[in-house]
Symmetry: C6
Subunit: 93 residues, 6 copies
Amino acid sequence: MDHVIAPTNSPVVTSHEVTLVPNNSLLTETPEEGRQLAVKMARLIIKLTQPDEEKRKQLRDVYGNDAMMLIAVGQAVATEFATIAAANNYWRK
Amino acid sequence: MDHVIAPTNSPVVTSHEVTLVPNNSLLTETPEEGRQLAVKMARLIIKLTQPDEEKRKQLRDVYGNDAMMLIAVGQAVATEFATIAAANNYWRK
Amino acid sequence: MDHVIAPTNSPVVTSHEVTLVPNNSLLTETPEEGRQLAVKMARLIIKLTQPDEEKRKQLRDVYGNDAMMLIAVGQAVATEFATIAAANNYWRK
Amino acid sequence: MDHVIAPTNSPVVTSHEVTLVPNNSLLTETPEEGRQLAVKMARLIIKLTQPDEEKRKQLRDVYGNDAMMLIAVGQAVATEFATIAAANNYWRK
Amino acid sequence: MDHVIAPTNSPVVTSHEVTLVPNNSLLTETPEEGRQLAVKMARLIIKLTQPDEEKRKQLRDVYGNDAMMLIAVGQAVATEFATIAAANNYWRK
Amino acid sequence: MDHVIAPTNSPVVTSHEVTLVPNNSLLTETPEEGRQLAVKMARLIIKLTQPDEEKRKQLRDVYGNDAMMLIAVGQAVATEFATIAAANNYWRK
């Protein structure tokens, strides 16, 4: 009932078993590290929603070769990065 | 009339019967908990819009195996998380 | 001329005849109420764009059973909620 | 050259001939008026991009009866409203 | 290598040869001018990505007559405008 | 396991081998440079997700000639630019 998004064929994986924010912090030393964190956080939501490693592998081949999906991945990362950049006060000197 | 989005085959479920914000607060101790809240809030909107547990189960199989939908789930969660992170002043130390 | 979005078969309904912001305020007591306001405001735009009750009913059956559309509903609500949460200073204590 | 988005069959309409912000202000008395402004501004971009009244009429019938497009209209309005609400300091009392 | 988005058939056009921000400023006198800037900036990204004038002309006919694409244009402009409006402190008096 | 988004056929490329933020800074002298940075950052996410130069070339031909994808590219760049503009305090004088 609590798992509206999680696929039904993964009963043992709950949101509490997957780390969603590496190091449990949005703060990074540099913009580059912040960008990498944005990518990781976007990936971890996909992992949470589709925990099956094999299926994710197949889906990667799909969106890695689909122009529209590549753009959509970019939009998702951009949104994550906006939050991380604000959290770090945009790494202003 | 009030239920523009709610499916017509669920006359007894109203938005007041589904909790949309767990603990009625956006404030969390850590970024990790904030991220989990973002996932839960995204799921609860889906539950509100499609209250039928069985149908949600079927739809999960659909988007859990569709690359574009997985990316779209990520975009929705990213937007929810942006709000929660700002509410918590980005968990700055 | 003014009704670029409104369907042509509803000449008597103007944006001034549909309340778009319940209680004419974004301020709510709690996050839960803010979330419900976000859902209502998203619904009212759909109602404004498609004022025909019967057609909305048919369309609800469509998106209530379509995984991608459920996710898109979530994205729309998330965007409305971001505004409402900021308006309420995120309901910080 | 300047009209990358404007359709080629409307050489006389330029962005300077269509008012894009009614009253040339984002400030409104109430949230309700702000919401109506958001709808109008979203509509005026569609009008700018497709100036042909007759074609817009046909396209309205299309998206007024398409669930996914109704949701997308909602997303566009939500984004416009976010800006207007911030401009009005969220109409806090 | 640097031109991940630019089409391969336009080797001489680089991002440095297309002006992406007219007048190199986000500041405008009025909201109306800010809105026109948002439209221009959205168009210039399309021009950068597809520099071929003839092809853009053909694509305009496509999206000018497609309801979903018109809405998507509106979403892109709304996002650009949000930035410009914030830059101008929302043209508050 | 860490590479949820990266295609499976590029085992040697990790997110640490691709620079995601040129000059490791969001700060630029002018809005024009900020806009170019937004384009570059959007491109680098596509490069990270599809590291194969030849495939990216093929995909560019696809989205450079697809109206909807051109608009989507615009949305992604707009989101990146919003962050960069805020980081630079909108280049206010």
